[in-house]
């Protein structure tokens, strides 16, 4: 294997390689998406996140638990009425 040159000319040559920018359309798309994500991360859509959390963590479980409770009460009462 041949040795790289000790003065680092190979690294200098690498340093001189031009930057390779993204295609302008893609760059604009990424910028828009990233800015939207940036806004969300800083609470731009906080009301939506809070509403979703409220629905999925509080309201939906409460409604389901209530429905199950009502059904069980009705079932016990119906069974009891039949027995008597």
């Amino acid at each position: 294997m041949s040795e790289p040159d000790d003065k680092g000319h190979d690294l200098d040559a690498l340093r001189a390689l031009p930057p390779r920018d993204a295609d302008p359309e893609h760059a604009a798309l990424v910028r828009a998406r990233a800015l939207a994500a940036f806004d969300v991360a800083h609470g731009g859509d906080m009301w939506l996140a809070r509403a979703t959390a409220l629905w999925s963590r509080v309201l939906l479980p409460t409604v389901l638990a209530g429905a199950v409770g009502v059904y069980l009460t009705w079932a016990v009462r119906a069974a009891s009425a039949l027995y008597h």
Partner: protein, 203 residues
């Protein structure tokens, strides 16, 4: 090393200042894209990973440390995204085929004959770089192309300083060999192209 002039940019990112994000994007966009393109060797992969890097910055901005070195942060994320991509590619047969195609972007560009001497040398360097193993390529990209110092590069790659130095020396040697091979190939091609003209001239 961290640029102290970037402190307002970091503060802006932490605060949610859109202008700060746009400035960071404009400042590092080309470098990050170029790094990913040279690292992955594929434009489509580079574009996907490029998007992931910026989405990650957008989502992590509120939690950035005050003393964050933004360039190092971005290149570390970009490198880690590429590592994850390669890891998943190993498990996905269709992507595995694509991995074998790494570096193809460099060979699809303009033919060296149409370039000046400097441009031809750069083209050769790009091709030699693309021909190296990923581990060698990433260290040359960080230290050579991007100009990070070796301690920073070691931290970014998650290796000890000594290991980084060894890896860099090996990568430079591999690059020299790859360049030598390409030069020989080009010389042979040029000789073959010139031969018919010599014969015609002799007639």
């Amino acid at each position: 090393m961290r640029d102290p002039a970037e402190q307002p940019l970091i503060d802006g990112l932490r605060r949610g200042d859109r202008a700060a994000f746009a400035t960071a994007y404009d400042r590092y966009r080309a470098r990050i894209h170029g790094f990913l393109l040279r690292l992955s060797g594929r434009r489509d992969v580079a574009e996907d990973l490029f998007q992931e890097v910026w989405l990650k910055l957008a989502r992590s901005a509120p939690r950035l440390r005050e003393d964050t070195d933004l360039a190092a942060w971005l290149f570390t994320v970009a490198r880690n995204e590429h590592v994850s991509y390669r890891r998943w590619s190993m498990l996905d047969v269709s992507r595995l085929v694509a991995l074998g195609d790494e570096g193809s972007y460099a060979s699809h560009e303009r033919a060296p004959d149409a370039l000046t001497d400097d441009a031809r040398a750069m083209h050769r360097l790009e091709r030699a770089l693309a021909a190296l193993p990923a581990a060698s390529r990433e260290v040359l990209l960080l230290v050579g192309v991007e100009g990070f110092d070796q301690e920073q590069a070691a931290a970014m790659l998650g290796v000890r300083y000594d290991a980084l130095r060894q890896r860099l020396a090996r990568a430079r040697a591999q690059l020299a060999v790859a360049l030598e091979k390409l030069e020989k190939t080009e010389t042979k091609k040029a000789a073959r192209a010139a031969a018919p003209e010599t014969i015609r001239g002799a007639r």
